[in-house]
């Protein structure tokens, strides 16, 4: 059950993701952030509901839409922002950028620019945990589109065959770039694919953080007990385009407004208020603290030094 401490932490993390992403959107449009960004706005309940069940030493693998996972797992927004700016002080020293943020010290085994490529890596991290008997578990985040990659099948089958401690967590935001998942896959529930691997599968409302948190809690309890992998599908929707600057003309206004009504942050706030887990003053306080920290993160990123050009040639080999 969610208590006051957990509710507060959930809200803080969800709001941090939202505020971070909205600020990134502005800074990217202003030309301060190079490259491209894929925003997580609308999907906050997924990352937070899952990661609130993890210990710092547990692992995650993330996706190109990974800022939310990193924050939910405990990433520092200043180091993240600096990475987005390509600065020396970023998590990856400016070598990864938005799509590849990693911080293995708290189990973040990287966002990944290749769809579903984190799944075998997560499987291997789970094998590593099992061989080292260190009690760690792994969550592999991926999207609906990733479920059509060969590595989805290969990883889940391998993890099931070897009985590995890994949760495959699908964020079904309905679209692979601009193609609706229903146009490229005949099954409507990716979670049901678990049957094919002989593992548990759950489908949950990805806009409702309480539902995600509690479903994952059950799945992870079994995983920690050595019962092997599980598959989770979270039904969600990204409020923004595939990447910033893309017009997202493949979705209707009606669809958009119907999903925006299901804003995960509003849902969480109202539910926590209703249950007496989070007061109005607390909400204001959390939001103020987050926004202050965020401005500090932006300043940190802006003022941080660029890498030396010659650093382009370091870190190739150990």
């Amino acid at each position: 059950m969610i208590n006051k401490t957990i509710a507060k932490e959930i809200y803080r993390k969800m709001f941090t993701i939202r505020a971070f992403e909205e600020r990134v959107e502005e800074l990217f449009s202003a030309g301060e952030i190079p490259g491209s960004v894929h925003l997580y706005i609308g999907e906050e309940a997924c990352a937070v509901g899952v990661c609130m069940n993890l210990n710092p030493e547990d692992y995650i693998t993330s996706t190109h839409r990974g800022h939310g996972h990193c924050i939910a797992k405990g990433g520092d927004i200043s180091k993240m922002m600096a990475e987005l700016y390509g600065k020396k002080t970023g998590y990856n020293k400016g070598k990864g950028g938005s799509m590849h943020i990693a911080y293995p010290n708290i189990g973040i085994l990287g966002a990944n620019g290749i769809i579903a490529a984190g799944m075998p890596i997560a499987t291997g991290a789970a094998l590593s945990a099992k061989l080292q008997k260190n009690g760690r578990i792994v969550v592999s985040f991926f999207g609906d589109a990733a479920s059509n990659q060969g590595t989805f099948h290969e990883s889940i089958n391998l993890a099931a065959a070897l009985n590995l401690p890994v949760l495959f967590a699908c964020e079904n935001n309905q679209f692979g770039v601009g193609t609706r998942i229903s146009e490229v896959t005949r099954v409507s529930d990716i979670g049901n694919r678990a049957v094919a691997y002989g593992i548990p599968g759950k489908i949950v409302d990805g806009q409702n953080v309480v539902a995600v948190y509690e479903t994952v809690k059950e799945l992870i309890e079994d995983i920690r007990q050595g019962k092997g992998p599980a598959l989770l599908e979270m039904k969600t929707w990204r409020f923004k385009a595939h990447f910033q600057g893309e017009p997202a003309t493949y979705r209707s206004n009606e669809e958009e407004s119907s999903w925006i009504k299901k804003d995960p942050i509003n849902i969480a706030r109202e539910e926590f208020k209703k249950k007496g887990l989070l007061g109005k003053t607390q909400v204001t306080e959390i939001e103020k603290e987050v926004l202050n920290a965020l401005e500090k993160a932006v300043e940190y990123a802006r003022k941080s030094p660029d890498p030396e050009p010659e650093e382009a040639l370091t870190d190739v080999f150990a």
């Binding site: 990856n92 590849h100 990287g110 290749i114 075998p120 590593s128 080292q132 065959a161």
Partner: protein, 328 residues
């Protein structure tokens, strides 16, 4: 001393490293006994150490190669095997995009201490799906080391080094060498990665080769010696990193370079070695650089066709003679 085969040397290296370090584990198809891998390269290991660290996997090359990488970046030292190096095509995303890149992309926060072993090469009537020599695909990629032992002694020493190395090492074993026996010390020993070996000293001509082509080069050198031509045979041992110094100083001595490569010519290790010598050893050359390589077609099945397409000892001898004539 005792005679053991190339595949026994590979198995022994792995067994000894697994005994030394409990982070080392094996993963691939049919790794466990009684099979002990397709060419016996893991034979006896699961019987001696148990099956926990000798993992048989489903036929899912991209999946289990990627799982090796995931294990490597979280504290283990996997030795992952592809049953044939040709199947690396199936796992290329994990090898090239993940394994080779991940340390760099993470800003050096992690290491990838993994060995990916695979049988390479042709001359087996195995046709095009099981005969490739793909080392140039990997020497092309920053972040990968590429090792190709040419005999049992090197196979053991190079594999132990590869397992102890903190980087992603592609270790390609030649199928024609598995049964070849030689004196191999029982005690573990290492051969440094990135260092070539002079397998035979000579003064008239340098032959650079690696993997199975080293034995062809040595055969050719014997035949040429009967004609009074003294050949120096360099075995690269690792094609990435490339031992530039040994190549250049040999060419400085002989003035002539012949590169012998089982793989196709274009965009290959042989063309790279040639470019190196043209760039840094031009003044030492007294004849054009020559290459003996496979001809440009998929590897055929029929021995007649395959032998025509692939480099033969006589091709090396003929090209070496031409080179000596041109250099006069």
């Amino acid at each position: 001393m005792r005679l053991i085969s190339y595949s026994e040397a590979i198995a022994e290296a792995q067994l000894q490293e697994m005994k030394r370090d409990d982070k080392v584990f094996l993963m691939g198809l049919v790794q466990r006994d009684p099979y002990g891998s397709a060419f016996g390269q893991t034979k006896g290991i699961s019987s001696k150490l148990g099956t926990e660290r000798v993992i048989d996997v489903p036929v899912s090359e991209n999946g289990y190669v990627g799982a090796g990488i995931g294990a490597a970046i979280t504290g283990m030292r996997p030795v992952v095997e592809l049953q044939f190096s040709d199947f690396i095509t199936i796992s290329m995303d994990q090898v090239v995009q993940q394994g080779a890149n991940v340390r760099y992309m993470f800003g050096g926060q992690i290491k990838v201490p993994m060995v990916l072993r695979a049988p390479t090469g042709a001359y087996m009537s195995a046709a095009a799906h099981h005969s490739h020599s793909l080392e140039a695909w990997f020497s092309f990629i920053p972040g990968l080391k590429v090792v190709l032992p040419s005999d049992a002694y090197d196979a053991k020493g190079l594999l132990i080094s590869a397992i102890r190395d903190d980087n992603f090492v592609i270790y390609l074993e030649h199928k024609k060498l598995y049964d070849k026996k030689m004196n191999v010390p029982e005690k573990p020993y290492t051969i440094p990665l990135g260092k070539a070996a002079i397998k035979q000293e000579g003064t008239d001509l340098t032959i650079v080769a690696w993997s199975f082509m080293v034995s062809k080069a040595l055969e050719a050198a014997d035949l040429l010696a009967k004609e009074g031509i003294s050949v120096e045979v360099i075995d690269l041992r690792t094609v990435s990193p490339l031992d530039e110094d040994v190549i250049i100083s040999s060419v400085e001595k002989t003035g002539k370079l012949l590169v012998v490569q089982e793989a196709y010519r274009h965009s290959s290790v042989a063309t790279d070695v040639s470019a190196l010598v043209a760039e840094k050893g031009f003044d030492f050359l007294d004849a054009p650089i020559k290459l003996v390589t496979a001809k440009d077609a998929p590897i055929p099945f029929s021995p007649v066709l395959e032998n025509y397409l692939l480099p033969q000892t006589q091709d090396i001898v003929a090209e070496a003679r031409n080179l000596i004539l041109e250099g006069r």
